[in-house]
């Protein structure tokens, strides 16, 4: 078995050893979903549609946000910051293995138990709101959704990896973490679908990477985007993916030159 598959397996086993943590964290982040149902039902009692969203597409949007937001998280990862600040990188630097791909594998592995819990609880939500959700049967839309999710995973990872590597240059990343925690939900579409924002704001957001980590894949699934918007979206996402990969590699290389391996 490849080393990276074993890392995924070990990360699953490690993550699953904290089962209660998985369930509690999922319940905590799914609470806004319950509020979203009440809020948007009230809103759509007054209006039929906002931009091209109706009640089923809005509720489906928030369900997918809850299911995907953890695996597509693009903020600072404290595990990487801690590896840099407390010398934990050391154990990986002496081995013939890539730290970047090791971290990708860890992220996949740690998210699998979470995703399973999310899937089970999400299914309950789907069952209770069956007639109020969007279910697509178009294979092409499923394929595009899958492609957008895979690209979003790597895009979010490279963003997250890049921000975390700032720890090479600063002892305290809490300022960056705070800024990200404020802006990320807004820029990624976690709070509202991007198309709910004013046109001028949307025009900027489509060229920033964060929108592609949540809003774009979900809207691809919902079919709320035109073919031109989908084509442009995939192109911009791909360009960001390539750019962020090289930025992450450059930060890593330069960071290692000043790494001090403090505390062992």
């Amino acid at each position: 078995m490849s080393a990276y598959l074993i890392i995924i397996r070990n990360a699953v086993a490690e993550s699953a050893s904290y089962r209660l943590n998985q369930i509690v964290s999922f319940l905590t982040i799914s609470l806004p979903l319950v509020f979203a149902v009440f809020l948007w039902k009230t809103v759509f009692n007054q209006v039929d549609e906002i931009t091209n969203f109706d009640l089923p597409s809005t509720l489906t949007y928030y369900l997918l946000v809850v299911l995907l937001q953890d695996i597509l998280y693009s903020g600072v990862k404290w595990e990487i910051v801690d590896d840099i600040h407390s010398g934990g990188l050391t154990k990986w630097l002496t081995k013939p293995i890539s730290y970047l791909w090791m971290q990708v594998s860890v992220r996949i592995g740690t998210n699998i138990p979470y995703f399973l819990v999310a899937f089970i609880l999400g299914s309950v939500f789907v069952f209770l709101n069956l007639n109020r959700l969007v279910w697509t049967t178009e294979p092409i839309r499923w394929l595009m959704f899958l492609a957008a999710i895979i690209m979003a995973f790597f895009l979010a990872f490279f963003l997250s990896f890049g921000f975390s590597l700032v720890a090479f240059w600063t002892q305290d990343t809490s300022g960056i973490e705070f800024a990200i925690s404020i802006f990320l939900p807004l820029l990624s579409g976690q709070i509202l679908p991007i198309t709910f924002f004013p046109k001028e704001f949307q025009a900027i957001l489509v060229y920033l990477p964060w929108r592609y980590t949540l809003d774009f894949p979900i809207q691809v699934y919902l079919g709320t985007l035109s073919s031109v918007q989908i084509g442009t979206g995939f192109t911009v996402e791909f360009l960001w993916l390539v750019a962020l990969y090289f930025i992450a590699k450059t930060l890593w290389k330069n960071g290692l030159n000043i790494y001090q391996a403090v505390g062992g």
Binding site: I7, T90, T94, K95
Partner: protein, 323 residues
């Protein structure tokens, strides 16, 4: 040569926080740094199978040297070759033949049994299944941890954990093993087991061992060659025997005498432990004269003369270095 170091220098940048009025603002707007020279123009070579002990007071540069040799730190200047590769270039061939074991850091997955981490190492180093099984069986038997391989690391005692770390670091049969304080915090029995293991492992595999430790017994038992570092420079590089020859050997005297006030008890080299007992620590060429003086002044029950231990000698060197 397994390891070759030429004119190696490492300078760190360390942030200074100023005190006083508006210090927070000053530190934020205009951070100040100082340069710390961890290693200063050092050169050495280490051959295959050598067991080298790096010693020196805190801040001497031991860990920095090990971290540069194992590819973790990039030096400021100088040429370093480990198995003919530049270590910080992270060449996979080189990485597959070295191992770094740090006593106070775990390299294994904390919440999982050691076996899960070993499976990963087997894949990382492309160890054949047959070799893996044989090495794991032999190492776990040598270290007496066969029954602990299925226990999560977090549930092991410190001594057990270090042993499982050692196995993890040796499964790929490295040609060079870097050990940074491998016995730190261990009880005497566990320290002894680790030392015996390292000697046995070296004789079986001819691996080079580069060891740093503040426990002189580790160095004394494991290493044939000692390198004393002080403020980033080599103060001594040679065998254990030559070390005590270079620094005039001392003897330890234990004197049991009839109680009384004698002038020799006021000598600076004498420690009076009780009214009828004293010990003295003297250069070997002064021992006979001192005993003659003691015997001439006081009735003696017993005088025991012992050779200086390596620990005493190293303490003496550190004292000299700190002056």
């Amino acid at each position: 040569m397994t390891i070759s170091v030429q004119n190696l220098t490492k300078i760190y940048k360390r942030r200074l926080l100023t005190q006083g009025q508006y210090s927070i603002l000053k530190n934020f707007l205009k951070p100040t740094y100082e340069k710390v020279q961890a290693l200063c123009n050092i050169s050495l070579t280490i051959g295959q199978g050598e067991m080298v002990g790096l010693i020196g007071p805190n801040g001497a540069g031991k860990s920095t040297l090990i971290k540069i040799l194992s590819g973790i730190l990039v030096p400021t200047s100088g040429d370093v070759r480990v198995l003919e590769h530049i270590p910080w270039a992270h060449n996979k061939t080189c990485q597959s033949q070295i191992s770094l074991i740090i006593g106070q850091k775990t390299q294994l997955w904390w919440d999982l049994p050691a076996l899960d981490s070993y499976e990963l190492l087997k894949a990382v180093y492309h160890i054949a299944a047959n070799d893996f099984d044989k090495r794991l069986a032999r190492l776990s038997e040598m270290l007496n941890v066969t029954d602990l391989l299925n226990v999560p690391i977090r549930e092991l005692s410190l001594g057990e954990r270090i042993k499982t770390e050692l196995i993890g670091g040796l499964l790929h049969n490295p040609k060079i093993i870097f050990l940074d304080e491998p016995t730190i915090g261990l009880d005497l029995s566990a320290q002894y087991q680790i030392r015996s293991f390292l000697r046995e492992y070296n004789s079986l595999t001819n691996a080079s061992i580069i060891l740093t430790s503040h426990y002189v017994r580790d160095i004394e038992s494991v290493c044939d060659r000692i390198v004393v570092l002080h403020k980033g420079q080599f103060y001594y590089d040679g065998t254990q025997d030559a070390l005590s020859e270079k620094f005039i050997p001392y003897k330890k005297l234990m004197i049991h005498h009839q109680p009384g006030e004698y002038s020799w008890r006021l000598d600076p080299s004498v420690v009076n432990t009780s009214p009828d007992q004293a010990s003295a620590y003297l250069p070997v060429d002064q021992v006979d004269d001192f005993i003659a003086l003691v015997v001439s002044q006081s009735p003696i029950y017993e005088v025991v003369v012992e050779d200086e231990t390596l620990e005493d000698l190293i303490r003496r060197i550190y004292n000299r270095l700190s002056k």
